[in-house]
């Protein structure tokens, strides 16, 4: 096995064991062997994609997605200085603002979607739960995301979801920032009524929905 391939196998093993120290060591080893930073990032992204798939298959769990997100952040921190010198590597990381709308304090679905988007390569800014319309709006103005994602689990917080969409619409910004809605109380009919794309029935579909929106689908 060539040195590069061997190191990539070791990186994958360290990542899948969620061993931060070993992963750091192997990334540094890859750099010592003059493997370029964009190749390492590409390899890590594939590993993350695989981890997302394993989560959807029920082989790994939410905390492991959280740890994977942290590992990727650590890896990017090591590689960032080298990436900047590669002009051909201009990472375009779409930003997504995510939150549970005002009045709703459910977390688990939002957390799963957040981590699936994170391991799929999106930069997710989680505003948490019980988020007022104005906070979604102000954060969108500040961060300029590609997507603003609203979650609601109870029928009684659907009106708050509508308030948030209305605020963006009132400023003509509902198309600049694509607004995506999801959660236990949301279905395709409701999404149609509210005039916002439906995020899907689960975290797996949420990844497909975001990719379709960004592809213009």
């Amino acid at each position: 096995m060539a040195a590069k391939e061997k190191i990539f196998v070791e990186i994958a093993a360290a990542f899948c064991d969620f061993d931060e120290e070993l992963l750091r060591e192997k990334i540094n080893l890859a750099l010592e062997h003059e493997i370029d930073a964009p190749s390492i990032i590409k390899h890590l992204s594939k590993i993350l994609e695989g981890i997302g798939d394993r989560f959807c298959q029920g082989e790994i769990y939410l905390p492991e997605l959280v740890i994977s997100g942290d590992l990727m952040e650590m890896a990017v921190g090591i590689l960032e200085p080298m990436l900047l010198s590669h002009q051909e590597y201009a990472p375009v990381k779409h930003k997504i603002i995510l939150g549970t709308v005002k009045g709703d304090i459910h977390t688990i679905g939002k957390d799963m979607v957040k981590m699936m988007w994170t391991v799929s390569g999106f930069d997710v800014i989680d505003l948490g739960i019980d988020v007022p319309a104005e906070l979604f709006f102000c954060k969108a103005q500040e961060i300029n995301p590609s997507i603003v994602a609203l979650s609601s689990t109870m029928t009684t917080t659907i009106p708050n979801m509508k308030d948030t969409i209305d605020l963006f619409k009132s400023r003509g910004l509902d198309q600049k920032y694509k607004i995506l809605i999801g959660g236990g109380s949301v279905n395709p009919d409701l999404a149609k009524q509210l005039g916002a794309p439906y995020g899907g029935r689960d975290a797996y579909e949420a990844v497909k929905s975001v990719k379709a929106i960004l592809a213009g689908g």
Binding site: Y61, V66, I105, M154, T155, T157, G184, D202
Partner: protein, 462 residues
């Protein structure tokens, strides 16, 4: 008022160890994983209804250990509420095994049920689906009229004065009060004025507490849920609920879903968290009734093999080692009313939970989200299955459940359950009785159940 122990314990959330949320979440995962290994708790698809008493004992010990090791995280202060082993066993020792709900001739006794208990359970009917105003009262009356249903779980308010009900607003308060008042009217009109109601239907704590009114709202003889946040986390909003409910004098039921694939890890970790939260609820929320389960998180359901196994094991652990009455059954199906799949789901969930010591409640068809897709027939069937389950043992229950799961599993895993029909389509809106189509379907499923060895319950004859 709330006991001295309640104030003492929740005050630890002001003084305990400070953590950030993520640290606590990951600590739950690591600790659950370690404890699952220590107690050798392993998912066994061949025994969805388990007969292994050592496994049940270990699930209880594991839950206690998780609670002792981690405590409960107060999200509002970022501090951990720790409890001691002595406090756990003292509180369990003082807990009541029987609670009287409702009054007069409609009074029911909600009892702690043993594993394989031959006593008939109390049946709580209702659902979580929203309904439109044209059928709201009729549906409530249909639930109240159904003799199989001992007490009612309310549907959430949907619209008020033509608007969708918005959480945390005066509209929500008014809608929730309006909703419970309508339930009371339905119970009176059905000739069951003392029928108890299981709360709550509001989202915000202010709506929950403002509906506690002896005249038209929730009475002291009802019981109301207070929840944990997944996993092992509490908020002051929920402690406010617990404090007010207790001081009002009503019964607190503690509820939580331990999510498979969430912060407790796999189904084994979910069982451990479920047991730990059930015990924590008695201490932190003054709970006197347990209403918790293990649930799938990616595609919310409680009728996959893993979620059935997890809920059954956690229920068995609580039933065997505590005196707390338990309320859980076919809370949610993925399929809709008047479909074979929904009835199979109800049967599998009910058989397991009832034989493991629960008083069943349900049913929210279509994951509880579709408008008007709920009828009293689902809880009636749940009740019939629950009564029949008191006549079998765990081994037989497991055989029946194993035979039922393949009848719907493929559709569940494909996330393609049939939607079914609405209350309008399935019930005569004048007589409030089910149509022939639904009765025939239920009979057909019963024929299948009887062929599998679950005999319909029949009242004693002279």
């Amino acid at each position: 008022m709330a006991t001295a122990r309640f104030w003492e314990i929740i005050s630890r959330g002001e003084q305990g160890d400070s953590l950030i949320l993520k640290e606590f979440d990951l600590a739950v995962f690591q600790m659950a994983k370690k404890i699952v290994k220590k107690y050798d708790i392993k998912f066994d698809p061949e025994n969805i209804v388990m007969v292994d008493d050592a496994l049940i004992d270990n699930a209880f010990k594991a839950g206690v250990e998780l609670l002792l090791e981690l405590g409960v995280f107060n999200i509002d202060t970022g501090k951990v509420i720790k409890v001691t082993e002595e406090e756990i066993y003292e509180t369990l020792g003082r807990s009541k095994a029987e609670i009287e709900l409702g009054f007069g001739k409609d009074l029911i006794k909600l009892k702690s049920r043993a594993i394989e208990d031959p006593a008939l359970p109390a049946i709580c009917g209702g659902c979580g689906n929203p309904v439109t105003d044209d059928i709201r009262y009729k549906l409530y009356l249909a639930y109240a009229m159904n003799p199989m249903i001992d007490y009612i779980e309310p549907l959430p308010p949907y619209k008020y004065r033509g608007m969708l009900v918005k959480a945390g607003t005066p509209f929500e308060l008014a809608a929730c009060l309006d909703n419970i008042e309508l339930y009371r009217k339905a119970c009176r009109d059905a000739g069951r004025p003392g029928m108890p109601i299981k709360g709550k239907d509001g989202v915000s704590a202010i709506a929950d507490v403002s509906t506690n009114r002896e005249d038209i709202g929730y009475r002291k003889t009802d019981h109301s849920n207070v929840y944990f946040k997944p996993q092992m986390k509490a908020t002051y909003e929920n402690m406010n609920r617990a404090a007010q409910f207790t001081q009002y004098g009503t019964y607190v039921s503690t509820a939580g879903c331990a999510y498979i694939g969430g912060f407790c890890g796999g189904v084994e970790g979910a069982v451990v968290c479920c047991v730990a939260e059930a015990i924590a609820g008695i201490l932190i929320y003054n709970g006197v009734i347990n209403a918790s389960c293990v649930m799938e998180s990616l595609y919310p359901s409680q009728t996959t093999r893993k979620s059935l196994w997890g809920t059954n094991l956690a229920s068995a652990a609580i039933a065997k080692h505590t005196p707390i009455p338990q309320v859980w059954g076919a809370y949610m199906t993925t399929a809709g009313p008047c479909t074979d799949m929904a009835l199979y789901e109800i049967a599998t969930a009910t058989i397991g939970t009832v034989i493991m010591g629960n008083n069943p409640f349900g049913v929210a068809p279509n994951q509880g989200v579709t408008l008007n897709y709920c009828t009293p027939m689902e809880p009636q069937f749940m009740g019939e299955v629950a009564y029949a389950t008191t006549m079998i043992d765990r081994k037989k229950a497991n055989e029946i459940v194993q035979a039922l799961i393949p009848k719907y599993e493929e559709r569940l895993l494909a996330k393609n359950p049939p939607k079914g029909k609405t209350f309008h389509e399935l019930y005569d809106l004048d007589t409030l009785l089910p149509n022939q189509e639904y009765l025939e379907l239920k009979d057909r499923i019963w024929d299948e159940l009887e062929a599998l060895g679950l005999k319909r319950f029949a009242w004693k004859r002279p």
